[in-house]
Structure formats: structure tokens, C-alpha cells
């Protein structure tokens, strides 16, 4: 590993945060293609899970019964498998109020066999850009699991790595291989790379709070060893999450229609690599329906990316 590259990595990111440049350059790419507005209604896509204002091209769901059941059909396959029960009752009250009005098109959040009479008050404010709000935040939290959070911290004092390696139990230091001390703590179970400049990278945490706590513990250890360490510039650099949509996905089809974002080489890797532009997230999509999302600096980016990809993936179920 190039140690200078690593130092530059978080120097750059701490200094400037403008990755938005690309995003603004007219990339409605995934956005535009995600809502089935761009998809010809001739293809037998089930649009009933979308909110009313979008599914104007609803081809064959004139029948209320049909659409309701087909919405249920969708709901059963949406990856909403995981911790569903506990949210059952909360969801019932959080549904899109528009559903009460037009039963023929259950909104995006129709994951339950809702009767039209149920009073529904949305917990999330309805914004005009609801074409993406397919999944309610609480549901997202139960669907999407975070596996790794990488963060950086500046301890603001030069460190004697040999001394640290000598005095700390949980440290390893091999200057010929890598110019940083590798330190580990048990709770939260994480690993830190501590550089002689005083900068530190903390990896392995399962949430942002865990990462912060872990980084503080490392800083404390360094403090206890006698260095005037401070805890400044804590920043989350990367978050890795995964979720399961619970239906198989035709990767060959997906790479054909979203060629500009996807790369699928079965001879090299079994998954499809989807580089979403807004938000700037890389998704690994597998035939089993499992999706890995990475490259986010904030939780919201992961949720947005999932909301963007979910309608696209659904489109590839029935084709």
C-alpha cells in the first residue's frame, strides 16, 4: 500500500469535499431511468407501486382488484423481508395519504394489504420529488445493513511509532512493510492505522457512532501513552452496506439497458458493478438479489442509492 497515497487520501478529503461537480453535470442518468416514465409502457412493468402522479402510463391495471393484488405481489417481493413484523403497525399509519383517495393505485409504500379505510398519516413529509420515495426510512433501516465504516481523525501531534508499538499491547508495527502502527481494540471491534504525522484511519465499525467511539478510544490510548493527542477533524470517509431485494435479477438485461453505468463480466466477477452518478455510489448487484452499496460518506447516500436502484431492479424481474 502506498503510504503517501493513504495520507493524501484523507488530506484531500478533509480539505475539499466537492464531488458534486459530476453530479450536477446533467446526470439525470439513473434518476431519469429509474422511474418508469422513461420505460415504455409496452413492457410489462408493474407500475402500481409508484405514487399516483407517476403511474399515468399504467397500462393494464385498470381493475382495482388487479392493481391492489399486483401491488401486493410487488410488496411481497420487495426486499422488505427482514424485520418486517415490528414495523407492521407503524407502517400502517405511515402510508401515503393519497392511497386513501385512489385505491386503484397504491402508493409506493404499499407493502401491506391495506384496506382503504385505514387512516393514514405520513410520518415523512411528502415532497414533490416523491418519485424516489419508494421506501420509508424506518423500513430502510431494517432492510439495509451496514458492514463497514471507514473514518479518519487528526490527532494533531507527531507520534513516535516505535514507542507506541513498544508500549501498547494491541499494536503491531512493521516499518519495512507499512509505515504505520496497526492497532486494534475489542469494543467496538475495529482496527486503526496510526501514522507518524498524527493522522489516523479507523476501519471495521458497523455504524458511524461506533466508528466515532472507536476513534476516540484510540485517541485515548495514544494520549495515555504520553502524546498530546487531540480529537479533531473526525470524518467518515466510506460506508459499506448491503441489502437483499429477495428476487433474482437478470444481470444480462440490466447491463444492456444501463450500459453507461454498468459493467458485467461473468468471466471476471459474478456480480454487476453499477456506478451510480447521483448519489456517487458503487453498487455490486448479484443474481441472487443481494446488493452491496459502497462509496458513501453519509447514510442518506446509501438510502438514496437504494431507492434509485430498486425500481430498476424490479424492472428486471419480470423480463
Amino acid at each position: 500500500m502506498d503510504e503517501f497515497a493513504l495520507e493524501r487520501y484523507f488530506d484531500d478529503s478533509i480539505a475539499k469535499d466537492d464531488f458534486l461537480l459530476e453530479d450536477e453535470l446533467g446526470l439525470e442518468g439513473p434518476d431519469a431511468s429509474a422511474p418508469p416514465l422513461k420505460v415504455k409502457p409496452a413492457e410489462d412493468l408493474d407500475l402500481s407501486f409508484l405514487p399516483d402522479e407517476l403511474s399515468t402510463q399504467d397500462p393494464s391495471h385498470a381493475n382495482i382488484n388487479d392493481s391492489q393484488t399486483s401491488a401486493l405481489n410487488d410488496s411481497h417481493d420487495s426486499g422488505v423481508g427482514l424485520d418486517f413484523n415490528s414495523h407492521a403497525s407503524t407502517l400502517a399509519t405511515q402510508e401515503n395519504p393519497q392511497q386513501g383517495a385512489s385505491v386503484s393505485r397504491l402508493g409506493t409504500s404499499a407493502f401491506y394489504p391495506m384496506t382503504p379505510m385505514t387512516p393514514m398519516t405520513p410520518m415523512t413529509p411528502m415532497t414533490p420529488a416523491t418519485e424516489k420515495s419508494g421506501i420509508i426510512p424506518q423500513l430502510q433501516k431494517s432492510l439495509i445493513r451496514f458492514w463497514n465504516i471507514v473514518s479518519t481523525v487528526n490527532l494533531c501531534c507527531p507520534l513516535d511509532l516505535k514507542f507506541i508499538a513498544l508500549q501498547a499491547r494491541n499494536a503491531e508495527y512493521n516499518p519495512k512493510r507499512f509505515a504505520a502502527v496497526i492497532m486494534r481494540i475489542r469494543e467496538p471491534r475495529t482496527t486503526a492505522l496510526i501514522f507518524s504525522s498524527g493522522k489516523m484511519v479507523c476501519t471495521g465499525a458497523k455504524s458511524e457512532e461506533h466508528s466515532r467511539l472507536a476513534a476516540r478510544k484510540y485517541a485515548r490510548v495514544v494520549q495515555k501513552l504520553g502524546f498530546p493527542a487531540r480529537f479533531t477533524d473526525f470524518k467518515i470517509q466510506n460506508m459499506v452496506a448491503s441489502c437483499d431485494v429477495c428476487f433474482p435479477i437478470r444481470l444480462e438485461g440490466l447491463v444492456l439497458t444501463h450500459q453507461q453505468f454498468s459493467s458485467y463480466e461473468p468471466e471476471l466477477f459474478p456480480g454487476l458493478i453499477y456506478r451510480m452518478v447521483k448519489p456517487r455510489i458503487v453498487l455490486l448487484i448479484f443474481v441472487s438479489g443481494k446488493v452491496v452499496l459502497t462509496g458513501a460518506k453519509e447514510r442518506a447516500e446509501i438510502y438514496d442509492a437504494f431507492e434509485n436502484i430498486y425500481p430498476i431492479l424490479k424492472g428486471f424481474r419480470k423480463q
Binding site: 393484488t69 405481489n73 410487488d74 418486517f84 471476471l268
Partner: protein, 453 residues
């Protein structure tokens, strides 16, 4: 205009001569050597062009030797693969472009050779000449991983949108490798290459429809389908007993290990379809399915539809039979339900989805009717190990049906604010006692000394 200055401004002498320095006209004073004028425009054209110093003294710019060799290698690969001239030209263009890019100009010669292969690969893909990356790796005698990495970097740099690999196209080329025509093997084991390919292509299409192909390496699948097609063209005892090993030896190809698993998977699919054949009375097992393969392939769409319908009816029967008390497998909208409110909804949901499933099927047409029931059963995980959705549908990707066991259970994530108090004792547990540190330092010194000696 000829210079009218006849006196040197430096020394005043009038001894000025014309001295051309590398075709640049100069007038120089003989006495003091100063240049009086240079580059004066003359009205008589001497016919010499002005050439700068660097251009006249520089060594003639030859194209890089390795670039030339690389282009020759590209040409050689194209000739071996017997591609048409258009592909050859394209490859050479791409190679020249990529070679001179900063990402590739300084890599090792071995990588440059791999780059040559990748250029051929991408040109073939763009111009609809199907080859696999494995073929290129073989030709280059390189690690497929390295080939893959170079390929991906190259298309990124050159910004090429190459079409994706389609297994059906490569099937024909692949089957040519198998030496099982009557020229190479005894008559009873021989097969006409055309028949073999036709049947193998049908098998591959069936495999693709039933989720065996997506995400998998294509070559073992092709090998499996050729083997099965060869067996089924004359399903006598002799052929059925011949293992894949022996078959590959006979056909003079290298056996691929995953092909065994693919054979098993494809046989399973064939059995599932074979069971739907109305005129077959006995049970269809992997042992006797090869006799039915011809019929299965001929009528595969109809059989697929029948199989899915049967499967749905079975599911429906199961759900009705199991009644209202906990339907863990049935209702996809509820999990291992601890909440009673879900139960009453579950049967209706199940009915509705089955109706929806059958209502939707005619809409879908002939394409992939079998994908729908997979949608019907969307149950995911829950606390208790519920059967996964893969086991409930008729055709699912094998990685779903046989998931890898996660050895480490995810521990419950405690809620943490990140700003909690950190106990001193915990931090102390990570720091060595002074004595420990001394001993450690001593040991390290002893170790390093012993290493030196």
C-alpha cells in the same frame, strides 16, 4: 532586400561577409565577429527553407520499437483467431492509442502483450465476433485475472462501450474445439458437430432461462451443455456411463471442475421439466432423463409453463392445508409471525398473489413466464431461520437455493451515541505495564541479534 549596411555597428569596419549558419542568412563582420544582421528577408528565393537547429540536429524520430512489435503481436493474434481484416485494423488502432496513453506507456512488456490481446478482444466484441476472455488468456498464456484487469482499464481509458458477452454466440465457436466427429473417435461415440451445437445451444438457452447462467463463468456451462447434448443425442448405456473426465479426454479438451456442478444443475432442471411431459409414465430421475432431453428441448416453453403452473397449484394446496396457525412459509408479507394481526391477512394475501400470478402470466407472453412465481414468494429472512425464497420457487439461482452458511452470526448492534464516557480501565488494558514493556524490548533485541548472526 539586400542589406545596405556596410559598416559594422560594433567596430565600424566595413568588412562584412555573408555567412550562412545552417541556412540562416547572416552577415558577419570579419574584424570583430559580431553579427550585423541575420534572417534578412531577401527577394531572391534561394530555395532553402528555414529549419531550426533542433530539427536539423535531432535524431530522426522513429516509432517506438516495442510499439511496432506490439502491433505485430496484435496482427499475429488476429491471424490465429482468423478474424476479419476490419477487426484486425480496429485492434491495431486501439493498441496504438492505448499504448501511448500514460497508463500503459511504462508498464512491463508482459502487460503490453496482454494489452495487445485485450485490444483484439474488444474489437471482436464490438464487431460481433464472439470470443471469451478465457480464449485470449490461453493465447497470451497469461493469468485471466490480469487479462481482466488490463481489459477493464483499457476500456475505461479508451472510453469504449463494448457490448456484453453473450454465451449463445460463443457456443458455436466453443463446440468446434471438441474433437468428436467421426474422424476422431469411433463411430458409435461420434457426433456431427452441427447437431451437437444445435442441441447444446438449446440447452444453454434453457439454462439461461432457469438462472443457471447468470453470474457464472460461461465456459464450464458450455462444456456441460456439450456433454449433455452429446449424451442425449444417443442416450445408450455406453454414452451415459462415460464420465465427464473421459469425455474430455476423448474430445481432447481440458476438463473444467465447475462443469460437474453445472451438469448436475442442468440435469435437475431437465428433470423438473421432464416430469411435466404428459406421455412419460415413470418417474423422471437424473438417471433416466437423458432419453427425454430431445422432447424436453423441443417443447421447453410449454413444459416451463406447465411446470410453473403445477408448482403454483402445489403451493396453493399447501397453504390451504396448513390453515391459519403460523404460516411461516406461505404469506410473503409476514415473516415468522409473532404478530397475530398478520395472520388473518396472510391467506388472503396468498390467494391474491396467486391470482395475480396467474392473471399476469398471459400478459407476459412467451418470454419468461417462469419468473413470476418467484415474485409471488418474496419472504425474506427473519429472526428464526425461515426457508429462503429460493426454496419456494421452482427455478431460482443456485446460490439462493443453497446459500453459504454464515459462520459468524451478526451480533446485535447496541445503540451507541459515539460520545460516551470511555473508562480508564479499558484503555489501560491496552497499554503494557513497564515491566512488560522492558521484557518485550529485551526479547526483540535478542531476536534481532540472533537474526543477524
Amino acid at each position: 532586400m539586400s542589406a545596405s549596411v556596410t559598416r559594422c555597428p560594433g567596430c565600424g569596419s566595413s568588412n562584412i561577409v555573408d555567412d550562412d549558419l545552417y541556412c540562416q542568412a547572416q552577415r558577419v563582420c570579419v574584424d570583430c565577429g559580431s553579427v550585423v544582421s541575420e534572417g534578412v528577408l531577401t527577394d531572391d528565393w534561394t530555395g532553402d527553407t528555414e529549419i531550426s537547429y533542433s530539427r536539423t540536429t535531432a535524431v530522426a524520430r522513429k516509432p517506438c520499437l516495442n510499439l511496432i512489435k506490439g502491433l505485430q503481436r496484435v496482427k499475429a493474434i488476429c491471424r490465429i483467431l482468423r478474424v476479419n481484416s476490419e477487426i484486425e485494423n480496429h485492434s491495431q488502432t486501439y493498441y496504438t492509442q492505448a499504448y501511448q496513453h500514460e497508463a500503459f506507456i511504462r508498464v512491463s512488456l508482459q502487460k503490453k502483450e496482454v494489452l495487445a490481446g485485450c485490444c483484439v478482444l474488444v474489437s471482436c466484441r464490438l464487431l460481433n465476433w464472439p470470443i471469451t476472455m478465457g480464449t485470449i488468456s490461453c493465447l497470451l498464456d497469461a493469468d485471466p485475472v490480469v487479462v481482466g484487469a488490463v481489459y477493464q482499464e483499457m476500456i475505461k481509458i479508451l472510453n469504449i462501450k463494448a457490448p456484453v458477452f453473450i454465451i449463445n454466440d460463443v457456443m458455436e465457436a466453443h463446440s468446434q474445439e471438441y474433437k468428436i466427429s467421426s474422424l476422431h473417435v469411433p463411430e458409435e461415440l461420434a457426433e456431427n458437430s452441427r447437431d451437437l451445437t444445435k442441441r447444446a445451444v438449446a440447452l444453454v438457452e434453457l439454462a439461461a432461462d432457469t438462472w443457471i447462467v447468470t453470474g457464472r463463468h460461461p465456459t464450464p456451462i458450455m462444456m456441460a451443455s456439450i456433454y449433455l447434448s452429446w449424451q442425449s443425442l444417443k442416450p445408450n448405456k455406453h454414452r451415459l456411463k462415460l464420465t465427464l473426465d473421459k469425455f474430455c479426454q476423448m474430445a481432447k479438451v481440458n476438463k473444467l471442475k465447475p462443469a460437474m456442478k453445472r451438469i448436475a444443475e442442468m440435469k435437475e432442471v431437465l428433470c423438473k421439466l421432464g416430469r411435466e411431459i404428459p406421455w412419460v409414465r415413470e418417474a423422471v430421475t437424473p438417471d433416466n432423463v437423458m432419453q427425454q432431453v430431445e422432447d424436453i428441448l423441443n417443447y421447453r416453453f410449454a413444459l416451463l409453463r406447465r411446470a410453473l403452473r403445477t408448482h403454483e397449484e402445489t403451493l396453493q394446496a399447501e397453504s390451504e392445508a396448513s390453515g391459519e396457525d403460523s404460516l411461516p412459509e406461505e404469506a410473503a408479507s409476514s415473516q415468522v409471525s409473532e404478530h397475530g394481526e398478520q395472520h388473518s391477512n396472510a391467506p388472503t394475501a396468498e390467494e391474491c398473489e396467486l391470482n395475480a400470478g396467474s392473471a399476469q402470466r398471459p400478459r407476459d407472453g412467451n418470454d419468461d413466464p417462469h419468473t413470476e412465481p418467484e415474485g409471488n414468494t418474496g419472504g425474506g429472512e427473519s429472526q428464526a431461520p425461515a426457508p429462503n425464497w429460493g426454496k419456494r420457487v421452482l427455478f431460482a439461482p443456485p446460490c439462493v437455493v443453497h446459500p453459504k452458511r454464515r459462520s459468524v452470526e451478526r451480533p446485535e448492534c447496541k445503540d451507541v451515541t459515539g460520545d460516551e464516557e470511555i473508562s480508564d480501565s479499558e484503555i489501560d488494558s491496552y497499554i503494557r505495564t513497564p515491566r512488560e514493556a522492558r521484557e518485550f524490548a529485551l526479547t526483540q533485541k535478542m531476536l534481532s541479534e540472533s537474526e543477524k548472526t
